[in-house]
Each structure stands twice: as structure tokens, then as C-alpha cells.
């Protein structure tokens, strides 16, 4: 079975919400749609107070290169356009919408029929991805139209779909594969057409045998879709690791996947692409997992963007258990703790993890014993213990020479450290310092 070559760890899988079918989360009374739900500059709001909007109507326009369109997830009246605090408490430009009814744009096809044929040319597909505001749903929310516009002089040879879902607890991709295998395969075919590559590979970790079987059966009906079962090892779903596992190629330091002829997208993105291209539906919904060991029930939901964390918690489990230590958005390895539960969800949110006090507790840091476990665990072949020292002593130049910017922040070093040193945090700080230094030099 294929896997990436270097490093990796085996965190507890905790896929306890595997069997919970995807439910539809009801729409709240008021929605707050943030204008930067993607990597890059925030979109420019094009609605004003008092405007009537429909579901799927464009409300934030991408006016710079690194930007994505934002559409209204609900129908109703725009209440105000002003900053709102996001999940980490930072104020971001946003549009507040009072929900009235559920009126969709006429262009959106809401019938349950599955539409297979796609007659669009590759360039038209990319243009439509941009129009529909599709971003990568693997976590980084990189605008899809930029990823699928291959720069001149470079060619894509592989399309790799990440369905590894290597993060503990998360099951949204698994549920999509189980319930929407055909749509996903159509989405993958569309992406394959957009790139003009012969084969698309869907990498799935082998701890999801049912999903592998289901996808293999469905993929038979499609041309050029290969299901690639992968060994269970974190971070199997990280872009560069997945490329290494599937193709055997390595992405060099400071290079992008396209430099190795690869384009990697998340499975959720493929599903969103299907809906956008075949059904004209912009990216206005997330599929997210609500899970936690101490919760009375486990759920997978389809949620409109702009629903607050509190609304999701209230609908799914009523209220947080008293022993809650952290609410995390994303997986336990790379996700971030949510500070402000009144914040709206955004594109790319894949989960609401409720972690108990005991599990969330960080043990006190002790001195480094030079065991080298972090260097062994690092899937990028870096030396986290060294970065820790360099960053602490402000030796930024040296940290850069040791390729600190190659760190993918997967958290393997911190996970494996017997001294509980917050290595990943230190490296993140170091990366910021290096970037600041490079910006100052320019």
C-alpha cells in the first residue's frame, strides 16, 4: 500500500461520527457572511443596507487576483455591512442578512437528478469556478480558479484528489463519499477535463474500507479515475505528502505542486465543483462534522455558511457539556481553537470538535532531551528542535537557511515530543519572523 516516505505519526483516529448520515441544518434568523472566507484579500461587498438578496446571489465580488466571490447563503434583506468578529475574535468585513423565506436564484438547479455530461471547455470551467466562488475545502481555502489556471510553461500530469481525511475525528469527506460518490466522480471528471490530464487519482486512507469499495465501484463507470488506497499515517492528506505517496515524486523546497506536474484538490472541493458546474450552485454550504467523545450524539451536517457556532451547537447537542475544554474548528492536529462561538462559519470549515478538558489540556513544557523524535516524525525532513532554539534566540537568518519555510505546520513534532515543547507554535512564530525579515529586505 502506498504512503509517503518520510516521518509521520499515528494519532488516535476517533472517527466516531462515521455512521451519522448527513443531515440538513435549518437556516437561522440572521446570517453573517464574512467577506474573506478564502486565502487572500477580502471580497468587496456589492450590496447595501436594505437590499433584497436571494440564495446564491453574488454579494461579495473578487476584485483582486488572490480573491474569491462570496454569495448569499440565504434569502432576505441586508441589515448592514460592517465588520464582524470571526472565530478568533478578529474583526473582518461582513454582510449581515435578515432571513426571509428561502427563495433561490432561478439559475440554480435544485432537482435531485444527477447530471453527468459537461459540455464546457476547460477555460469555461475555470471561469465558472471563479464565478461560483469555489475555494479549496481542504482547509487552506485557496481559490480554485487560480489553482486550475496552470501558469505558462508548466504542465499538469497528475490530478490528485485528497480523500485521505487523515485528521482525527473528521468524517465529513467519508460521508460525502458514502452518500454522493457519483457526484464526486463527476466533479473529478470535470476537474480532469479542466486540466487536460489523462488520469485522476483519489487517495483514500485504508481505514475507510467501505468508502474505498464504494468509490471503486462508482469509478468503474468513469474514465480515468483511479482509486488509490493509502496507508493509515498522519499527514497522509497533506498536499506534498499525498503527491509523494501517489506519484513517488517530491516537491522541492519552496516549490509548488505544479512544479512537479501535480494538482491536488480536496474531495469536498470536487463535490462543490460538481454542484457549481452542473447545478449552477455557488459555494454557499459546508459539510461539517459535529463530534466529540463527551457529546451525547455525533452528527454530520450540511450547513449554510454564516451559521454561527452557537447555532450549530444548539441544534445538534443543545449545549456544550460542562467538561468542555476546547471547541476546535478543523481536526485535532491542525485545527484552531475557536475563541468566539458567536462567530459565523466560513467556507472550508469542516468540523466543530468539542474536546473535553482532559484531552485538551496541554502538559507543562520541560527541557528538550535531544531525543530527535521530532526530526523523525517530521514529514518534511526538517529539524524542529533546531528551529525551536533558533527562533528563541532570534537567529532568523539561520532558521531560514534550514528551510523553516518548508514546514507545513502539520503538528507531528509537537505530537511526538516527550518534553511537550510547543514546537509547532515556535516554528509558526519563526516563519512569521522569517517572512517579516524577507519583507523588510525587499
Amino acid at each position: 500500500m502506498k504512503t509517503f516516505r518520510m516521518g509521520g505519526v499515528h494519532p488516535e483516529e476517533n472517527k466516531i461520527s462515521n455512521d451519522a448520515a448527513i443531515e440538513v441544518m435549518p437556516v437561522g434568523k440572521q446570517m453573517v457572511v464574512l467577506m474573506n472566507q478564502h486565502l487572500g484579500a477580502p471580497a468587496t461587498p456589492i450590496v447595501q443596507k436594505g437590499d433584497k438578496v436571494k440564495v446564491g446571489q453574488l454579494i461579495g465580488e473578487a476584485q483582486t487576483f488572490m480573491c474569491a466571490n462570496v454569495h448569499s447563503p440565504v434569502s432576505g434583506t441586508v441589515l448592514k455591512v460592517e465588520p464582524c468578529k470571526d472565530a478568533f475574535g478578529l474583526a473582518k468585513p461582513a454582510v449581515y442578512i435578515n432571513v426571509e423565506g428561502d427563495e433561490w436564484m432561478e439559475t440554480i438547479d435544485r432537482t435531485p437528478d444527477i447530471k453527468r455530461e459537461c459540455t464546457l471547455e476547460p477555460k469555461e470551467i475555470v471561469a465558472k469556478l471563479k464565478e461560483m466562488g469555489i475555494v479549496g475545502l481542504g482547509g487552506a481555502t485557496f481559490p480554485a480558479h487560480i489553482k486550475y489556471s496552470i501558469p505558462e510553461g508548466k504542465t499538469a500530469e497528475y490530478l490528485i484528489i485528497n480523500a485521505a481525511e487523515c485528521e482525527p475525528y473528521l468524517t465529513s469527506d467519508y460521508r460525502v463519499m458514502m452518500e454522493h460518490a457519483e457526484e464526486v466522480c463527476i466533479g473529478v471528471s470535470i476537474l480532469r477535463k479542466a486540466l487536460g490530464v489523462p488520469n485522476a487519482y483519489i487517495g483514500i486512507e485504508s481505514n475507510k474500507p467501505l468508502a474505498i469499495k464504494k468509490m471503486q465501484e462508482t469509478a468503474k463507470e468513469f474514465e480515468g479515475i483511479i482509486i488509490e488506497p493509502l496507508k493509515v499515517k498522519y499527514p497522509q492528506g497533506a498536499e506534498k505528502q499525498l503527491i509523494n505517496a501517489v506519484t513517488g515524486r517530491r516537491v522541492g523546497s519552496g516549490k509548488l505542486p505544479i512544479d512537479s506536474g501535480c494538482v491536488v484538490s480536496n474531495l469536498g472541493t470536487a463535490f462543490a465543483v460538481y454542484e457549481a458546474i452542473q447545478k449552477n450552485k455557488p459555494l454557499i454550504e459546508n459539510i461539517l462534522t459535529v463530534t466529540g467523545k463527551e457529546l451525547p450524539s455525533q452528527h454530520n451536517y450540511i450547513v449554510r455558511i454564516g451559521t454561527t457556532y452557537n447555532e450549530i451547537i444548539a441544534h445538534s447537542i443543545g449545549q456544550l457539556p460542562e467538561t468542555t475544554g476546547k471547541v476546535i474548528s478543523g481536526g485535532t492536529m491542525m485545527g484552531k481553537a475557536v475563541v468566539n462561538l458567536d462567530a459565523p462559519t466560513v467556507k472550508g470549515n469542516s468540523s466543530v470538535l468539542v474536546i473535553g478538558e482532559k484531552e485538551a489540556h496541554r502538559n507543562p513544557e520541560t527541557a528538550c532531551i535531544r531525543c530527535g523524535k521530532c526530526a523523525n516524525a517530521c514529514p518534511m525532513g526538517l529539524e524542529p528542535y533546531l528551529f525551536s532554539l533558533l527562533v528563541k534566540n532570534n537567529r532568523v537568518e539561520e532558521a531560514k537557511e534550514h528551510n523553516i519555510l518548508d514546514c507545513i505546520e502539520c503538528g507531528c513534532c509537537f505530537f511526538s515530543c516527550p518534553a511537550n515543547k510547543p514546537l509547532t507554535d515556535e516554528i509558526r512564530l519563526g516563519k512569521n519572523k522569517v517572512r517579516a525579515m524577507m519583507a523588510a529586505k525587499k
Partner: protein, 302 residues
């Protein structure tokens, strides 16, 4: 026998003379002419290499002084007027008397504990915490309390207070500005020490709108502008929902302090309002006391 000894002595002697000549020529050829004044000036400087002057260290500062020939735009904050006068003597120029300054932490400690919304257990570094979230009490402008300023201070003049906001020891502070530079949120500012060490400042840097700021902190500046209206010296400006007192204009009349509806403006170094005079022992009143005693405590320590 004597013959051998003689030869050895002669050879070594000849070599010695040869090397001496070579060294002399090299020394003349690559002679570095350095103003001896630089050494003298460097001698006078504190030698802490704090970088507060903006130069790489004390030696670099001395070089800059000598190169310039006067002291315009150059000042060694830790050395203060005494050191500056000595340098002036050496250079033979007049030195302007600078107002002594002190680092001031513009954030209210009293409220952080009460309104704590989250517990941070990540890396103890303000620079990192600043990239992750807003702070434990939800204020996106205020002190993060991880102590980057404490680590940056070379004079042991700033320490974490009991409420998680640093406290400056005014006697030790040399106003080198290292803490102000280390603070990712620019909470710390260098201000004039003021006459009799009395100073008035807005102890808040929150630029949010009044209602939003009040939600996060009861002592936040809401930018109402009352202080600016009452100020006889026009020292107060309000911009971005935040008021700022210009320490060069302020006469410490304290009219704004009584006017401020959120008690965001702090007065430091004044005698306590009641019977007791200002300098009283700090140790006794502990942290559990409420607002006014805490403020007094800061007064004395600052």
C-alpha cells in the same frame, strides 16, 4: 660547541630582525586611523548595548557621535543627561537637556481577570499569540500578557503584574524602548516622566467603536471626546475612537481624569486623594483589592 651556539643565536636574531621589518611595513601600510575620541566616548557610555538609540550598540553610537561632531538627534536614553553632558564635554559641544522618559503600559489590568473569555495555553510569546487570537479578554488591541516586553528588558525594569499586565519599575526604567519595540500591539509607549514624576495618560489603545470596546473592557477608551473638550492645553486628540494625550503639552491638571466616563485615563505619581501622602509601602495591599487600591499601587511603582 661555542660555534654552534653562535650560529643558532645569529640565525634567530636575523629572523627576528626580518620579521620586525615585515611587521613594521605591514603595520604602516594597513594602518587604521581611528579618532581616539571614539574610545573616550565609548568609555563614558553605559555599555549595555540596548540599542535604544537606534544604533547597533554603544560603540556604534560613539562612532556616530564623533562622526557627526555634535549631539543633534543623538541621545543615550539609559545614560540620561549626565552621560550626555560628559559626551558634550568630550566633543566640545552643547547638549540639549532632554526630558527624562519612562515606559508606560497603556492597558488596564483590573478587568482582564473578570472578563476572561478564553484560556490561552499555547506558546508563551506575545508575537505568536497576536497571530492566533485576540487575547484572553477578547480585546484585539490590548495587552496579551505573555511577557515579550519582560524578556526584552535588559534593565530588569518591567515585570508581569498580578493581573497579567506588565508593570514598569520607573526607577530602573532607562527608556531605551526595547519593550515598546517587542510589544506586537504597541501597547507600551515612551512618555515624559513629568514634573515630580506626575503624569497623566490614556491607559487604553482600543480603536473599536465605543459600544464594542465597552463590551470587552469596562475601562476602555470609547472615544467620546469629553477629555478633549475639558483640556485647557488642547493636548488631547481623539482619532479612531481613541483619545491620546500629548505628553509635551499636558500640564497634568487632571481635569480629564475626573471627566472620563470609563476611567480609562490614569494619573500616576499624584498624592492619594484621601489623607495619606503618595509614597506608601507597596507590599501590603494585595491584588484582591478592587479598583482604586490597584491604581494606587501602580502609581507608586510606575
Amino acid at each position: 660547541m661555542t660555534h654552534d651556539i653562535l650560529i643558532a643565536v645569529l640565525i634567530l636574531g636575523a629572523l627576528g630582525v626580518l620579521f620586525a621589518v615585515v611587521l613594521y611595513i605591514v603595520a604602516q601600510k594597513f594602518k587604521v586611523i581611528e579618532d581616539p575620541l571614539i574610545d573616550e566616548v565609548a568609555e563614558v557610555l553605559p555599555g549595555a548595548n540596548c540599542g535604544g538609540c537606534g544604533k547597533a550598540g554603544c560603540r556604534a553610537f560613539a562612532e556616530a557621535c564623533v562622526a557627526q561632531g555634535n549631539m543633534e538627534g543623538l541621545r543615550c536614553a539609559p545614560g540620561g543627561d549626565a552621560v550626555m553632558a560628559k559626551i558634550g564635554q568630550l566633543l566640545g559641544c552643547t547638549v540639549e537637556q532632554g526630558e527624562p522618559q519612562v515606559a508606560v503600559v497603556r492597558c488596564h489590568p483590573a478587568n482582564c481577570g473578570e472578563k476572561r473569555r478564553s484560556n490561552y495555553d499555547g506558546l508563551k510569546s506575545c508575537a505568536f499569540a497576536n497571530t492566533v487570537y485576540t487575547g484572553e479578554n477578547g480585546c484585539p488591541f490590548g495587552c496579551l500578557g505573555c511577557g515579550d516586553c519582560v524578556a526584552a528588558c535588559q534593565f530588569d525594569a518591567i515585570h508581569m503584574g498580578p493581573d497579567g499586565v506588565p508593570v514598569v519599575d520607573a526607577d530602573k526604567c532607562t527608556a531605551c524602548g526595547a519593550c515598546a519595540k517587542a510589544c506586537p500591539r504597541r501597547v507600551i509607549e515612551l512618555r515624559n516622566k513629568g514634573k515630580k514624576e506626575r503624569r497623566v495618560y490614556v491607559s487604553c489603545v482600543n480603536k473599536e467603536k465605543g459600544a464594542v470596546a465597552m463590551k470587552t473592557c469596562a475601562n476602555a477608551c470609547i472615544g467620546c471626546g469629553k477629555c478633549a473638550k475639558v483640556c485647557p492645553m488642547e493636548a488631547i486628540t481623539v482619532a479612531d475612537n481613541l483619545s491620546y494625550i500629548d505628553y509635551k503639552k499636558c500640564i497634568a491638571c487632571r481635569k480629564c481624569v475626573t471627566e472620563c466616563p470609563t476611567k480609562a485615563i490614569k494619573d500616576v505619581g499624584f498624592p492619594a486623594p484621601a489623607v495619606k501622602p503618595a509614597p506608601k509601602p507597596v507590599e501590603a495591599p494585595a491584588a484582591e483589592n478592587v479598583e482604586i487600591p490597584v491604581a494606587e499601587k501602580v502609581e507608586v511603582k510606575n
